[in-house]
Amino acid sequence: MNFTSLKNKIDKICKKKGIEDYQISYSSSEDASCKISGHTVDSSTVNTDMSFTFSCISEGKRGVYVCNVFDDATLENMVAKAYENTQCIDSEEKFEIFEGSKEYKHLEDNNTPLEKVDKIIEKTKEIQEKNLAKDPRIQESSETSTFAVKSDYKIANSKGLFLEKVLRYEGLYSEVVAKDKEDVTVGVDFKIAPLDEIKNLKAVEKALNRQNATQLETGTYDVVFDTDCVRQILATFCPIFIGKNVYMGLSLLKAGKGEKIANKAVTLIDDPFETTSPVKIHFDTDGVATYCKEIIKDGIQENLVYNLSTAKKAGVTTTGNSSGSEVTFYSLYFKPGEKTKEELLEEVGRGIYISEMKGFHAGANAQTGDFSIDSEGFKIENGKLVQPVKGFTVSGNFYKLLRDIEAFSSDLEFSFPSGLTRFGSAEAYVRNMSIAGK
């Protein structure tokens, strides 16, 4: 069933039931992927998926039903159940159906067909074989996965608003295992780009560089966090910048702007149109136009993020960050600095480069800001990476970390998108981090 027919059917049911305020958010996707371990194609998949979310509002309360079945009886039941849900809600958060923003940024849709499975398999083989051939220490248990995805988002509501965005991108992920005697190390890398443009990944080098790691002494060190580590830290603690968490006491930040919450080197930006993003979008799930905003500017708190209902409760304007019933980020990233990675290391002189941190969902608490994370890395001596080190934990608190970041390198990189969200950072130089080793 196409979207217009679905909308017409739902319009009729709502009219019959006297429901005036409602919205349909529709998403459909096609994806294809291939995974190879050793020299064998483990699996190749093609999926086509579609679902829509019906939400209706009664006296500011919102009831929701997610569905992918179109027969009349199911749609009738869906509308009735969503309305019934509104009657049990007593939250002070008031929802509304939005008539539309004055202006939306124009974004070109990438509507070309999904990459063919054969090409995906061929590309996966090419990169996997390159990885395996690079060094005799690389093990056959190494894996490469390639994927292509195309998604179509539409929203339509009872106030006549209709918006649509088609997203399409592909990428490749390698996890390389290196073994020398009994020392097993893993290196991971990924790239989101048209398949033809993906030539090499650094997974092999990462796995090999970690070989022969030694233990690190417990102590306080000046450290440089790899971009991947900073992105993981940001992904874990970004909920503290959500306005609702602030007014619910689930973040230690205060509402409003102007407070110094970070060192001057820190500028944090949320940009739905970040140039390199494969998931740019011009509207949020409330139908509000998205825009780029600074969360922190030169260490000063500038914005928290809101959707329509949480902004109303906080007495501010929405920032266009609605995602279903939650609030989300788009490309959330620390603004890079001027120095290259090498120049930053030179500035540090002596310390620890943290290349890998694992287990954030175990060792970090988004509500307290505390983290204690199992890490690997390299000693920095005379401004150069030297001996690999492992088996130590890096501990701290995110609120304090923001104040302790001395500088970022110029080497901005982004994480894999999760929905419309991705995190970005360059390497970060932080003084006096607590490290527990041997």
Binding site: S37, G38, D42, S43, S44, T45, V46, N47, T48, D49, M50, S51, V64, Y65, V66, C67, N68, V69, T74, M78, K81, A82, E84, N85, C88, I89, D90, S91, E92, V117, E140, S141, E143, V177, V184, T185, V186, T218, M248, G249, L250, L252, S325, K358, G359, F360, H361, A362, G363, N365, Q367, T368, S372, I373, D374, G391, T393, S395, S434, A436
Partner: protein
């Protein structure tokens, strides 16, 4: 839900390009979630999602397609497209066996099906737990609560003639409390669930106790000091403490990583890999347990599998594709979150079996160490076995006695080492519930153990 003739046709189309096995999976899943925050009901959402997955094997190669469009046209198109993904030079088309329906023994009896209960009934449970948490102590500044229930029916048919189905129902109550003191927040949580209907919270578990437990932990943590990091002996309490075995060793025993050699446990069947005090079991047949089912997502009945017997590796957990690769029998462990995912080997109810040590002897045997009363989530790299777990509620042990509470601790080690270092095992086994993530999505998994002693482990702290 889909006509048997159409299923037959899909299997035939699937086999038309030389695949030697075809499997159709059809799913209908109802899900409901109710959320409370700030003393109020903040959100109620329901969903109904249906779809079909088709998997074909050619030797040890697997191709998979799924669609949420269950029209005849879409299903046949999916079958044709999946068949084209099979690459073969010698085209030999096999005929599928005719489908014979099998009805399975129901081990998970449900009294009150949650998907047919009213919002009011579920809200009563949630509100009781929520306000028990909120009113526990004035130090509790915020509570969030969620009640979820799922009603999943699936049908699975394959070219060997299997045609069967299962209905899997579960519900869960989750309370998270925040305690605030001197501008600082600490948290506590309780999250019981089972393959049961609403009777879980009207007959078995008192929602008041769930709420109180979440706030009790939050209050203890906000009044605790950070633990100094170091290497020490640790006693890990029963229940969710079993997450350590699940993550550090259980994942390495799943055929998903064993079959490609990406597991520290690959090739070690029959070898002594753990302390002889340690016996570990994965059992999907425990009536109404969170990780149980009548049949797995390939239609095989759930099994009780002894993984490690007194330190000797006895079995892996194996799905049909990896059974081909490993040349062994599947073990009833094939699972997937939904039709969108190709199933693979996963854990069900996985636990360290009770031993002979008394709890008091385990604690008194530790001169200076850590008692982990409640464990949190963790992560592991199955290749290296390196893991990291949060301690949600911990206490120092001084001279064989449990002392002051500590916060922010984490346990860090490797799977192969910790199973050798678990050298005392208590008598009283208990389960804790979690959601386990892997390549076939998120599935409910029970973890369990009695109180155990780890003779030496790195404890992360400040």
């Amino acid at each position: 839900m889909i006509d048997k003739n159409l299923i037959n046709e899909v299997i035939k189309v699937g086999l038309s390009t030389g695949a030697d096995f075809a499997e159709v999976f059809i799913e209908r899943k109802k899900y409901s979630a109710i959320n409370m925050l700030d003393n109020r009901v903040s959100n109620i959402s329901d969903s109904l999602i249906c779809g079909l997955g088709l998997r074909l094997y050619k030797g040890i190669e697997s191709v998979y397609s799924s669609t949420s469009d269950l029209s005849r046209t879409s299903i046949i198109r999916t079958a044709e497209q999946t068949a084209r993904m099979i690459k073969t030079k010698n085209l030999e088309v096999i005929n599928p066996a005719s489908l014979h329906e099998r009805i399975n023994l129901n081990i998970n009896k449900i009294k009150t099906v949650p998907s047919s209960a009213s919002n009011k009934e579920k809200l009563e449970i949630l509100k009781t737990a929520y306000f028990a948490a909120k009113n526990y102590d004035s130090i509790i500044s915020q509570v969030s609560g969620t009640f979820i229930d799922e009603d999943r029916t699936f049908w699975v048919a394959n070219s060997n003639g299997l045609y069967t189905s299962d209905r899997q129902i579960r519900c869960r109550l989750m309370i998270e409390s925040v305690a605030s003191k001197n501008g600082e927040n600490q948290t506590g949580g309780a999250r019981p669930g089972a393959r049961k209907g609403l009777e879980l919270f009207t007959e078995d578990i008192d929602p008041v106790e769930v709420g109180k437990e979440a706030s009790r932990i939050a209050k203890i943590n906000v009044n605790s000091d950070y633990l100094k990091a170091g290497v020490m002996p640790v006693a890990i309490e029963n229940g969710f403490g079993g997450v350590i075995f699940h993550e550090s060793c259980g994942h390495s025993l799943e055929a998903t990583s064993v079959a490609i050699g990406a597991s520290q446990m690959a090739g070690k069947l029959g070898q002594k890999i753990a302390n002889s005090k340690l016996t570990a079991i994965d059992d999907g047949t425990i009536a109404n347990a969170w990780g149980s089912y009548n049949i797995d997502d390939e239609g095989r009945p759930a099994q009780k599998n002894v993984l490690i017997d007194k330190g000797i590796l006895k079995s892996y957990m194996v799905d049909t594709l990896n059974a081909r690769k490993m040349k062994c029998e599947p073990t009833g462990n094939a699972r997937r979150e939904s039709f969108y995912y190709e199933p693979t080997s996963r854990m069900t109810n996985t636990y360290i079996a009770p031993g002979n040590d008394e709890d008091k002897d385990i604690i008194s045997s530790i001169e200076e160490g850590l008692y982990c009363a409640k464990m949190g989530g963790g992560s592991v790299n199955p290749v290296t076995g390196a893991f990291n777990f949060a301690v949600l509620e911990g206490y120092k042990i001084h001279h064989g006695e449990i002392g002051e509470s500590v916060r922010g601790a984490s346990l860090i080690g490797t799977g192969s080492q910790i199973i050798q270092d678990i050298d005392m095992v208590g008598k009283y086994m208990k389960f804790g519930q979690g959601m386990c993530g892997s390549s076939s999505g998120m599935v409910p998994a029970n973890v369990g153990q009695p109180l155990v002693r780890v003779k030496k482990i790195t404890v992360g702290g400040r």
